[in-house]
């Protein structure tokens, strides 16, 4: 399971960064989404995966007796998902507006801000 997740995370990061490096604005958004998901999975993986052991102390004892799934990474991922969701929806609107105003889909043609004025 760990190895599978590690490969998926690697693919998501690589694909995300590749997509961000492309010239098309739409691919930029796809890249951002992939990268965000990769980071979320990474937190999940690095919090150690423990199957079928919820962090609940059994009624008869006062401490945990066995290894349990760490709940903190899940809380972190929940926060990170909400944040990246907000950012992604902002990115889509921004790209739509930029496309409408600049009238191009090509990042290489968006160079008005670098020109001497």
């Amino acid at each position: 399971m760990e190895i599978l997740l590690a490969i998926i995370i690697g693919v998501l990061y690589a694909a995300g960064i590749y997509m961000i490096l492309r010239r098309s604005l739409v691919k930029l958004i796809i890249g951002i989404i992939l990268l965000g998901n990769g980071a979320n999975l990474l937190i999940f993986l690095l919090g150690r995966i423990t199957e079928g052991a919820p962090p609940i102390i059994p009624e008869e004892s006062k401490v945990f007796l066995e290894a349990y799934a760490d709940p903190v990474p899940q809380a972190l991922i929940l926060t990170a998902i909400v944040i990246s969701f907000g950012l992604q929806s902002f990115a889509i609107i921004l790209v739509k507006r930029a496309h409408k105003v600049v009238k191009t889909d090509d990042l290489d043609e968006m160079n008005a801000t670098d020109e001497d004025s």
């Binding site: 604005l25 937190i43 972190l76 600049v102 801000t113």
Partner: protein, 506 residues
Amino acid sequence: MTQQLILYPLLLQMLLAILLMFFWRKINIQRIISMLGSLVHLAVSIGVFAYIWNNGTQTVQAGSWEAPFGITFIADTFAATMVLLTSIAGLAVSIFSSGSVISDRLRFGYFPIFHFLLLGLTGAFLTGDIFNLYVWFEIIIISSFVLITIGGEKAQLEGAVKYFTLNFLASMIFLTAIAVLYGLTGSLNMADLANKVAAVENRALVEITAILFLIGFGIKSALFPLYFWLPASYHTPPSAVSAIFGGLLTKVGVYALIRVFTLIFVGDVFLDQILLVLAIFTLFSGALGALVQNNIRKVFSYLIICHIGYMIIGLGMFTEVAIAGTIFYLVHDIVVKTNLFMISGLIYRIKGSNSMRALGGFYANYPMLSLLMFIPLFSLVGIPPLSGFWPKISLITASFDSESYWSLAAIIFASFITLVVIAKLWAEVFWKDATEIPVRPKFRYYHKIKNIKRIQIVVPIVFLSLVSLYIGFGAEHIQRLSTRIASELMDNQQYIDAVLNTQTPD
């Protein structure tokens, strides 16, 4: 009551932002609330600073969860100083926005978002939890995205696409670094991390994590190979927005770098070397970039990059004198950079252009305003006794002490180029004969706007210039402050003890 004192600046900004949302389209009410609220915020921040200065570091455990488990808020002298500077810059820009930003922009929620930005900044300075720091960073960048796009002009949107992409990337790298750090230590509390990271055996992985933090914060604070988003976007929004961005947004990255590299990843010679090299290149590239620009605001954008180098170089040398220089420079830079972008806004209001070639004759036409602008411009250069001079003494002394002659050369070179750039700007904009600039019929020139607006534009510039003068002439006080901060940062055990060994007083 005093136990939660350090949270008051935070809560006040949040209340302001929420209150402002209830007056969504009523921009006159928003203006008044924002200015009064910022004034109260300044008063509260001074109160917090005075309290910390007299009583030492204070901590608050959110929801009374004991230290490594809950979220900690901590105000040491460094954090309290940064909160105070945020409120000074916030007050100035709040007044300046009321006068200079056109109401078409204000109508789309400018002021609520502005206060959310200040909320994020205050939170980032006060938090003691690394994931919480990430959340505050996100609040900062989401607010800044809105501020940079408000108005929706072509250049703004283009700049915003670049600004968004690189800041998003920085956040993701920061998040990745947090994930790896959590995997290594199982903790998120910065004081707890400081203890646990030192005990980790896999040093290579610790070093990689540190590099990830360096890249994440490096993009945000515009370090050498990672700064290209800054000059592409900072000159596009209204100058009030540039002022708050230039003054505080890159500095929060510097703050995070200083915090992480004095608390969590300490005593790693390799990392210090990397920081030094990056700082030297930042100084060179920022200075050379500023030299060839024609747009005043782009010149200032490159100068931001250049002067980030001064702060990082002090961090790289990592001696108490060097860190004191860094802190002093940070204090001076926040005030001056905010002021410079407001000045570029004033020049734009008066002449309708920000191009150095087109401008001229400012001194002949507006001698009093020119004299006012002289203060921040030459504080930036660091002509003694103005404020930029003093921190450089500390930095130069420190580079002699640590025999780091490349840093010494870079400091002097960047200082010299800054002088050349400002002298060129002074000659072009202020002394050169006035040239004819085509009059824009719909533009709201300075002489056409109401008196009250003019006051709102000039007063914050006067206010920040006075603060700059105080930093220059009262250098002894600021030096005492930065030495105290430096000694607190160098001895991170104080911070750790303040967070982990608190007995709740009953």
